[in-house]
């Protein structure tokens, strides 16, 4: 419609009035786009080439921050590794479990509302509280996880105090709240027309085949969404990692996530330039990943009514 408005040579006073009203309505957001989005993105890029502690004005040092990050900061590589492992494991895990829960909810049993509520509840718990709960849940002394493992004859590790097991426990903590993903999948499943499933059944598609060739293609747009958002947010893990591992990612930097690294440089050491350079790297990495996912999605995301 906007193009129509522009194509017209003589702009009616009514249309001009509408344009003015439209701009007034979106004015707050224009301000926000400039002040809280465009300026910070540009400033982050600029600051990444400077040394800056807020008190003195930034001084230009070229690529020095990046050079230090890539060649002299072992914590950077540790954080990259931890965040990559976290994303690689937790994002697919979350997708699979949320999809499984949605399939369960879609089986058509009575009292589904109660189960739906229960499945959503973990999403309500503030991350700080969830982390505290999991510290006791995984406690080797008096914690239920290791007790249950004990029944199975497994001697559970000292999860959050063991450099090898802190990350798996952190991932489980991240997977616990998946109400939003589950309900999004459920909404997608509900939209699959029953006659399509019936037709597939007539053609002999059962179980796995039905899932693989009918259900998954039809909900692939939801998968794409959960995947993109999941990837972006898996690199935003902060609260959980900070409460468990502090600023050093204890034990032995095994929970040092990328955001904790940025935080400690920016707000503990006040090396704003260095932290900005780290943010730029994160930004570009997430951007590359998102674009990669969108590119690949052409091959596996199915839009009903064809690709536009």
């Amino acid at each position: 419609m906007a193009t129509m408005a522009m194509r017209r040579t003589a702009v009616s006073p009514l249309r001009r009035q509408e344009s003015r009203a439209g701009l007034i309505f979106i004015l707050p957001w224009l301000v926000s786009l400039l002040v809280f989005t465009t300026y910070p993105v540009l400033a982050t890029f600029y600051l990444s080439f400077t040394e800056y502690n807020i008190l003195q004005p930034p001084s230009w040092i070229g690529l020095e921050n990046y050079q230090t990050i890539f060649t002299e900061d072992p914590a950077f590589w540790k954080a990259v590794r931890n965040s990559a492992v976290y994303a690689l494991v937790s994002v697919p895990l979350k997708l699979v479990i949320a999809f499984g829960l949605a399939m369960l909810l879609n089986m058509g049993v009575r009292g589904i509302g109660v189960y739906r509520t229960v499945f959503y509840l973990p999403t309500l718990v503030p991350p700080i509280a969830a982390t505290i709960i999991f510290l006791l849940l995984f406690s080797p002394a008096g914690g239920p996880i290791n007790s249950i493992l004990g029944w199975l004859g497994i001697r559970g590790p000292d999860w959050f105090n063991d450099p090898n097991w802190a990350m798996p426990a952190l991932i489980v903590l991240g997977v616990w709240p998946l109400g939003v993903e589950t309900l999004a999948f459920l909404a997608g499943l509900k939209e699959i027309p029953q006659d399509l499933l019936d037709a597939a059944a007539v053609d002999g598609a059962q179980g796995w085949q039905r899932l693989r060739h009918v259900i998954l293609p039809l909900i692939s747009p939801v998968i794409l969404f959960n995947l993109v958002i999941g990837v972006i947010y898996s690199f935003q893990v902060f609260t959980q990692a900070l409460v468990i591992g502090g600023f050093n990612g204890e034990p032995l930097e095994s929970t040092l996530m990328f955001l904790v690294l940025i935080y400690r440089n920016a707000f503990r050491y006040f090396s704003m330039g260095y932290a900005a350079a780290l943010s730029v790297i994160l930004f570009l990495a997430v951007l590359a990943l998102t674009l990669l996912i969108f590119r690949s999605s052409r091959a596996w995301v199915h839009y009903e009514g064809g690709q536009r």
């Binding site: 957001w29 910070p40 369960l104 503030p126 909404a187």
Partner: protein
């Protein structure tokens, strides 16, 4: 990305909760087995909740007792009073701060996103479509990329150590909720606003008196999600607040845990008290959470 979203739109007229009411799907296992499966999964998901309450009602020694105590014995009901009365966890003040913080952000977000979403959905102006595309694209920016310069900006303005940097930006909109409001406004029949325009109503009157009442459920969706995410927010308060008297619950709980490292029973009670208001709100507004997710197929 927009395509996938727009495919999932529902007109505002079809706002009734769509989840969980559909016809029964083809059964692949018996109803009893299905319930057993669902109950097992529910129990697993509820275990952390149970453990929060269980530990909150124990003594600090019983929490780490061997063998494990599945049920608090004795039940320490007085942990409620000792946590609320603790000077390390001034619950009422923290709660008040959280209500102020979440309330401010929610009001700002609902007002701004309703207006901006309306502008994008119902009014024609040059550059609208490109601006909307940019708006969606900003969702891909990790928030941390914006944090450092924004912090520097507020620090230059002398606003560190208060709620202004945490609440003020909400009054200028939020890309995700603008998108959501736009979708809701698009679902309203055009005849309504056209008729009002012919009757000579101004754009602002149409918005305020005709459109807003029609999207009240959508405003609730934005409100409940904003409330939830603001209540959860930890990073923002950690950066911008300095005085413990201003802490919201999330940061207060963190401070409590940092100062009283061994007092697990009361820390767990604090976790419970931090979560409880959200559960109460959720139980009353559940349908809006469901609606928000079904309408956009996206998380807030």
């Amino acid at each position: 990305m927009t395509l996938a979203v727009e495919r999932r739109l529902e007109p505002a007229a079809r706002l009734a909760p769509a989840v969980g009411t559909g016809p029964a799907r083809r059964a692949w296992i018996g109803p009893l087995a299905r319930h057993a499966l669902l109950i097992a999964v529910a129990a697993l998901l509820l275990l952390p909740f149970y453990w929060m309450l269980n530990s909150a009602l124990k003594s600090n020694t019983d929490i780490f007792a061997y063998p494990i105590q599945w049920w608090p014995d004795p039940v320490r009901w007085d942990n409620f009073a000792s946590t609320i009365g603790s000077r390390y966890f001034p619950f009422l003040r923290l709660l008040g701060n959280s209500v102020f913080f979440a309330g401010g952000v929610t009001i700002g977000t609902v007002l701004s996103c309703a207006a901006v979403g309306y502008g994008f959905a119902r009014l024609r102006f040059p550059g609208r479509d490109i601006l909307f595309t940019i708006t969606i694209a900003t969702l891909m920016i990790p928030p941390i990329v914006l944090f450092i310069p924004t912090y520097v900006l507020f620090s230059k303005l002398g606003l560190i150590g208060g709620y202004t940097p945490l609440i003020l930006p909400a009054f200028f909109g939020n890309a995700f909720f603008i998108f959501m409001m736009r979708q809701f406004f698009l679902g309203i029949p055009w005849d309504l606003s056209d008729a009002a325009r012919i009757d000579g109503a101004g754009e602002f009157r149409i918005f305020w008196e005709i459109m807003l009442p029609l999207v009240r459920p959508a405003l609730m969706v934005v409100a409940v999600f904003t409330l939830l995410y603001t209540w959860h927010d930890f990073f923002g308060p950690l950066i911008y607040l300095q005085d413990a008297a201003q802490y919201p619950l999330s940061l207060g709980l963190y401070a409590f845990k940092s100062q009283r490292t061994a007092d697990w029973a009361n820390i767990m009670m604090g976790s419970f008290l931090t979560t409880l208001p959200l559960i109460v709100v959720f139980l009353f507004t559940q349908r809006y959470f469901l609606r928000g997710i079904t309408t956009t197929g996206l998380k807030g």
